[in-house]
Symmetry: C2
Subunit: 198 residues, 2 copies
């Protein structure tokens, strides 16, 4: 059995999930598939043109406090208040899509989350993304070119449509392959892994 | 330290929380305060005149599946699809408010949740509530009269205002007294109890 990890770079709770999902899956003996997608089209279809954490201030205030507790417990840096929220993760997602079946995909993903939430860098900036790719020993210019090709842009749309078809409405989400059992939220990662082992 | 358990009778995730909160708090050695309140005014202020699980179908479909998994794991009966959702928990909340500092309050609360989610009874019906009070050996007619007195109706509004002042925006929520640390969701019960023990 395999667990798909569906994530969006703007999503706060996807950050702690991304940082531990590989270790947790390995410990559970469950295969892991990284699945970047976009929440924008999903939120847009619900009539939201911003993060629900901005639209509903009480929920937003709670989320940042909850994230601070979670990150402190897991030894992750979280800088608050955020310099910008939500960030535009489109370019990063196009790169992560290329990397999702490559050895560098997971580490690229983690470094983008760190850039966003621990370092407060603007992850929509090509220079920030190129810096991460460079540090991983990759050809940043070639990957940026591939990422912006129409076929890759279309592939990200298709992947987002696949997420919607599987019932995904937020991030992070975990889908256990086979029965397509859906789990939503960083706090459901362990339940998803246990489900995959049933 | 004390943990306040803020709950609304229409709230699905409040059901498994209500069924285990007393046991969990006792095991953790943490004092527990039951705090019924109304989500209607809070949702209304956000522009919702229905449960977000009805307004957002993907979220609702997921919630019922997630609830089914949680209830199965905890040995709780959950009948789906619900005969009516959300139920009107106003009268039950007014009674629970009278009971919140009485010995019968917790068991009354649990039985209302069972009537709602395990038995699919209409908890807005006075007969259903009277049946529960009767079974607990209480004077149902006298309590119904007290529940509908203006002073008790007003007290429930005040308690809901207190919830909002503490940052509560959904149910169940847990507030650790002292620092007024807020935790939202059935899946945060253990985190709240651990926080209270710090």
């Amino acid at each position: 059995m395999q667990v798909e990890f569906w994530y969006e770079f703007a999503s706060t709770y996807s950050y702690p999930a991304a940082m531990r999902v590989e270790r947790a899956a390995a410990e559970a003996g469950v295969a892991l598939a990284w699945r970047p997608f976009l929440l924008g089209p999903i939120f847009g279809a619900q009539g939201w043109n911003d993060s629900p954490f901005n639209i509903y201030p009480a929920k937003g205030k709670y989320m940042w406090r909850d994230m601070a507790r979670i990150c402190a417990a897991e030894g992750l840096t979280l800088k608050t208040p955020p310099a910008r929220f939500p960030q535009n993760g489109l370019k990063a997602a196009r790169l992560a899509l290329i990397g999702q079946d490559e050895p560098w995909g997971p580490e690229f993903t983690r470094r983008v989350y760190l850039a966003n939430f621990a370092e407060q860098k603007d992850i929509s900036e090509e220079g920030v993304l190129a810096g991460i790719l460079d540090a991983l020993g990759l050809d940043a210019a070639a990957l940026a070119a591939r990422a912006s090709e129409p076929v890759n842009k279309e592939r990200l749309k298709t992947q987002t449509a696949e997420a919607i078809a599987k019932g995904v409405f937020g991030a992070p989400s975990f889908v256990v392959s086979g029965g397509d059992e859906l789990f939503w939220g960083n706090d459901r990662l362990d339940a998803a892994l246990q489900w995959a082992k049933r």
